[in-house]
Amino acid sequence: MARMNMVQALNSAMDVMLARDPRVVILGEDVGYFGGVFRATEGLQRKHGEHRVLDTPISEGGIIAAAIGMGVNGLKPVAEIQFADYIYPGFDQVVSELARLRYRTAGEFTSPVTIRTPCGGGIRGGQTHSQSPEAIFTHVCGIKVVMPSNPYDAKGLLISAIEGEDPVVFFEPKRIYNGPFDGDPHKPAVPWSAHPLGEVPEGHFTVPLGRAAVVRPGTAATIITYGTMVHVAEAAVRQAGIDAEIIDVRTMAPLDVDTLCASVCKTGRCVVVHEATLFGGYGAELVATVQEHCFWNLEAPIQRVAGWDTPYPHAFEWEYFPGPARVAAALKKVMEAS
């Protein structure tokens, strides 16, 4: 076991896979010599060579397309998109190509590309360094969508993504790269080194895709969330003093419906939380699924807590960020209703 923050855990996952599987290659803007703007690939080029860890032109569409071609030719490419906000120029290659290739060729051609990309706000990055576009990708058939909430999962999920034969869009909530963040910007940052989930095996291990985790058992209500908001939810539970069960979705698509619905059917109350904007967000899918399966157990309308439906406003980060106060308020609301 070692102590790792999330960046180190991701780095370790790639390091392990580069060493284990000669087919694995890393590519992206600034990922090679420099080691990535968030240092996620630090040292990997030096260790594994510049044919395994490639700097690329600034061209997200080209990166994803080239990765697809490499995957077709037997490699297992891990492409970094520097910020999730910059994945859109590569969107066509993801939707029309990466997600469709296996289907349209009835399995004769496949390309198991993993796309890693830092997402989310809370780092004063303004509207083009803070977005959470996961919902858009969950609506695309043929890819898996993942977001870890801690270093252990980050490494285990990334290894699963790279080892798997399906394309994966792997969102990394950059706000918690260095430590869990409970939504209170006034508090001193707690590093992962002081957190149990900062304990990460150095070698190979996996966390399966497609399985949610109950990160806090509870009886009064269920909070369904993922990424940074898992920690915000924990803070909200403390703040509200309500014994809510917290579920970390981890894999947004395909969704582990059973784990979610078992919890909500048990608690009868549900709050769905994400950083992304509310309207048409992934939370809507969670609500729609849960109400269908747990309708007869629900004691109150399911509440969504999400980013306001505006672009991410640089100066109003903390009024915008769906922090513990808003989650706690929603919790209270579902408790009061009846």
Binding site: V25, H51, R52, T56, P57, S59, G61, G62, A65, A66, A67, I68, G69, M70, G71, V72, N73, G74, L75, P77, P89, D92, Q93, S96, E97, R100, L101, R102, Y103, R104, T105, A106, G107, E108, F109, T110, C141, G142, K144, G164, E165, D166, G210, P254, L255, V257
Partner: protein, 425 residues
């Protein structure tokens, strides 16, 4: 100076009812263009992007440094492939007109672009076509029955009914899947080639794109990545003068050739007579050897003409002179190779007629066989429940449930058999 509008709107030389006019084309004489070493730096051979590599002269003989000196037997194979491609196209178009398949795209007049290039490459090379290079499948010996079954979406459809007609692929034949989205294959081919180079393998990739599609982002992505990593790839740009209704000026072809894009990226650009089998073969061989020897990518502009409609959904008489193709100065690739072989004494009208008959019979036999695997009107058909396969490697739970839902509806008779042919609006 009075301000005035200066927006330039490209306009083709001729519209319906007008005389065809190809005077905008700059042509070189057969044999006139030099053939550099494989190793020539891109910057030293920029002229190749402005000239037009041609081998077959008006006398139907092969001349000049680009003459690939192919054996007559090989030329006969090329002729056979091109002819078969054309006859296959003609038949499939007829079949579409009869409503027996829903859609088709012909490559008439452009057969050399696929056939000659395909023949100049090696079996381990990955071919990454657009929708108009069916000749590649012919070159690599694909059973036409398989192509027909794809167009029929029948029980032998390689796509299991998931794609429109002509969206073929061939894993074991190293021919990549055709995408409905233009140009996406181009940078993928570069990625494939990069992987070959990373693995230290000796294969190259070759991709094809239409001149209209070169306006898409993926053209730029492909060129940039190919240039930066000197990827072993041949990027073919098929300038058949027309996109759907817009002529090549709308892709930026008015003031320079498409091959000239190459030098702009530091990649050799070669402009070739796309209807000259020998010339296409020669430039492909040159580019392939360059790539295999570590020289990186080449952009090849094939100057040709789309004789047929864009697809069976199109009516070109709305936007260009009806018989424009007759005025096309570079002739017909099949007729020209035939004439060359005749001039060499290696072919004759009789042999040609015989071959044509043989190939037509072959196509007929293939169609018969293909139909036995199911048609739109009847016969065996694919199980619709297979539509839930291959979305992911393993079928996820929610799709299992959806499949069961559909199965139940089918069992209940709520969702019946599909009609022979859906209404096309």
């Amino acid at each position: 100076m009075t301000p005035r509008s200066r927006l330039h709107v490209p306009s083709p030389p001729a519209r319906p009812g007008q005389e065809p006019d190809f005077s905008y084309l700059s042509l070189s004489a057969a044999g006139a263009v030099h053939r550099p070493e494989f190793t020539a730096p891109a910057g030293d051979i920029e002229d190749l992007s402005k000239e037009l590599v041609r081998v077959l002269g008006d006398d139907h003989l092969a001349v000049g440094p680009w003459n690939p000196h192919l054996e007559p037997a090989e030329l006969q194979v090329g002729l056979r492939h091109m002819l078969l491609t054309r006859l296959f196209d003609d038949r499939m178009q007829k079949i579409q007109r009869q409503g027996r398949i829903s859609f088709y795209i012909k490559s008439t007049g452009e057969e050399a672009v696929a056939v000659a290039a395909g023949m100049a490459l090696q079996p381990g090379d990955m071919l990454v076509p657009s929708y108009r290079q069916q000749g590649l499948h012919v070159v690599r010996g694909r059973d036409l029955v398989e192509l027909m079954c794809q167009c029929l979406s029948n029980t032998r459809d390689m796509c299991k009914g998931r794609q429109m007609p002509i969206m073929y692929h061939w894993g074991s034949g190293n021919i990549f899947s055709i995408s409905g989205n233009l140009a996406t294959q181009y940078p993928q081919a570069v990625g494939w080639a990069m992987a070959a180079a990373i693995k230290g393998e000796d294969h190259i990739a070759a991709s094809w794109i239409g001149e209209g599609s070169s306006a898409e982002a993926d053209f730029h992505h492909a060129m940039t990545f190919a240039a930066v990593y000197q990827a072993p790839v041949i990027l073919n740009l098929v300038n058949n003068q027309w996109a759907i209704s817009t002529f090549q000026g709308f892709a930026g072809g008015e003031r320079r050739t498409f091959a000239q894009r190459g030098p702009g990226y530091g990649i050799p650009g070669i402009r070739v007579d796309g209807n000259d089998f020998l010339a296409v073969h020669a430039v492909t061989q040159w580019a392939a050897q360059r790539a295999r020897q570590g020289g990186g990518a080449t952009l090849i502009e094939h100057v040709t003409y789309r004789v047929a409609a864009h697809s069976t959904s199109d009516d070109p008489s709305r936007y260009r002179p009806k018989e424009e193709w007759k005025a096309w100065p570079l002739g017909d690739p099949v007729a020209r190779l035939k004439a060359h072989l005749v001039a060499l004494g290696e072919w004759s009208e009789e042999r040609h007629a015989k071959l044509e008959k043989e190939l037509e019979a072959h196509v007929t036999a293939c169609w018969k066989k293909a139909e036995s695997f199911g048609t739109l009107a009847g016969g065996p058909s694919l199980d619709p429940l297979t539509m839930f396969d291959d979305v992911l490697k393993e079928i996820p739970e929610h799709l299992v449930k959806q499949r069961e839902e559909l199965r139940a509806l089918q069992t209940a008779g709520a969702i019946g058999a599909a009609p022979a042919h859906a209404r096309q609006d």
